[in-house]
């Protein structure tokens, strides 16, 4: 008797989960994002910030998300006349959050790439990231290709993206791999290495800790333009946010916040982008 009851219960459970599963599968995977009118009417702008990219997004002493992106997000709300709600996103899920309409817009080093533009739309560039050469005034390098020399000692962070670039394009240089940015920057400060290739904007935090005449090679290797991502086709919102970004550039707000969080000026002007209209 007990056995039969158990069998029935199990069958019902399986049937129930199957039904629930198919119901969920049947739901539309992509819901429409809120339009500009809906956002204004709700008096709330929901923006995703990635707290794993300090100082763009960082957890402060109170364990709240803070940083450059948060300042920008709050200002965007202010310019739109609504409140800003910050939602935590991560690198792998930040684009699905926007494309599924869970958030209105996303910040967090959103480099504008052709691949991403197939899935989401971007505002005009908010900031740039410069992949460049960090070295000291004592070293003569004028261009990064000069580093392809057996006498040059490069230091890189193990597992960081530029390692591959260095191995492919600068195979002659000596390469020291260390585990983190503070150690790598210190290696140059102490004269253990001559130069390092990485996103220069993220270096100021480390270089400021050493009394060394730092120098960034004038000719950058690459400049990445980063914008704000919105759902594909949400044109009214995108245009409004673009206008707000331009306003923030014009008033000097972006520069000022960047200096505050990064400890130095932005290395490349985002307004030089061909898409900045």
């Amino acid at each position: 008797m007990k056995q039969i009851r158990n069998t029935i219960r199990r069958t019902l459970l399986v049937a129930g989960s199957l039904a629930l599963g198919s119901a969920l599968m049947g739901l539309p995977a992509v819901s429409s994002a809120r339009t500009l009118d809906e956002i204004v009417a709700s008096k709330k702008l929901v923006i995703g910030v990635n707290p794993t990219l300090p100082p763009l997004g960082i957890f402060n002493d109170k364990n709240e998300i803070d940083g450059f992106d948060v300042d920008i997000a709050r200002k965007l709300g202010e310019l739109l006349g609504v409140k800003t709600e910050i939602v935590q996103v991560g690198s792998p899920d930040r684009i699905p959050f926007v494309s599924s309409g869970k958030i209105d817009a996303v910040l967090g080093a959103m480099t504008i790439t052709a691949e991403r533009q197939k899935v989401i739309d971007f505002t005009v560039p908010l900031h740039t990231e410069v992949l460049g050469v960090l070295t000291t005034k004592a070293k003569p390098y004028k261009d990064w290709m000069e580093l392809n020399d057996p006498a040059v000692r490069l230091v890189e962070v193990r597992g960081a993206t530029p390692v591959k670039l260095v191995q492919e394009k600068l195979p002659k240089a000596q390469l020291l791999l260390l585990d983190n940015y503070p150690d790598a920057v210190r290696a140059i400060a102490q004269g253990r290495a001559d130069a390092m290739i990485d996103v220069m904007d993220f270096m100021t935090e480390h270089t400021a800790k050493h009394k060394v005449d730092w120098r960034i090679v004038d000719a950058p290797i690459e400049v990445y333009f980063c914008g704000i991502g919105v759902q594909k086709g949400n044109d009214a919102l995108r245009e409004k946010l673009s206008a707000a970004v331009k306003e923030m550039h014009k008033s000097g707000y972006v520069d000022e916040r960047w200096k505050k969080w990064f400890g130095g000026p932005m290395l490349h002007d985002p307004r030089t982008a061909p898409t900045y209209k």
């Binding site: 597992g159 791999l177 260390l178």
Partner: protein, 222 residues
Amino acid sequence: MQFDYSPVLERMPYLIGGAWLSLQIAFLAFAFGMLLGLGGASVRAYGPRWARRVVGVYVVFFTNTPQLVQIFFIFFALPDAGILLSPYQAVLIGMTLNAGAYLTEIQRAGFESVRLPELEAAETLGFSRIQTIRYVILPHIVRVLFPPLSNQYILMTLGTSMAAVFGVEELTGRAYNINSETFRSIEVFSVAAVLYIVITLIATLSLAFVGKRFFRAKMRWF
């Protein structure tokens, strides 16, 4: 979960090169550490009081701080005092100093196991202090100390993995590099683990051979 060992197997020569470097570092650090330890133990057993104190401080310092911290200090703090060592040199010196402290203690225990009548016999025969150490004490203690020394050597072979932190591309460093290219973590580190077993076995077997052949030392393992 599907395993794919091909990206790791393609890079086997690179990994084996790293294993060879690990063995090399362990061997050199052990050899220098043995000399240092022999000196330290001699001083601690027979030296003047002040010298015993100095060696004592050295031993306490190096056996009560982590090896990683010691090498970190040599690698990153000494340059501020104008001493810039290459990663390989820093690791080798750090491991030697660390091994020297442990080996001082191990060898001192061996010295103390030498019985007084043996020393008296040497004195009666007119041996100098150096001769006594060379012909009486050393042969005696080597036999007693062979097993603990072998253990220390195996530990040091495994301890070379921390060299990766300082940019020495030994076995662990190379495993990290392959992992950051292929993201095949389980495969990379399981192969690295097997290679570590292989190199420690090589070390154990050669030590057992040396011990049996030259010192009639008995070793039990497994």
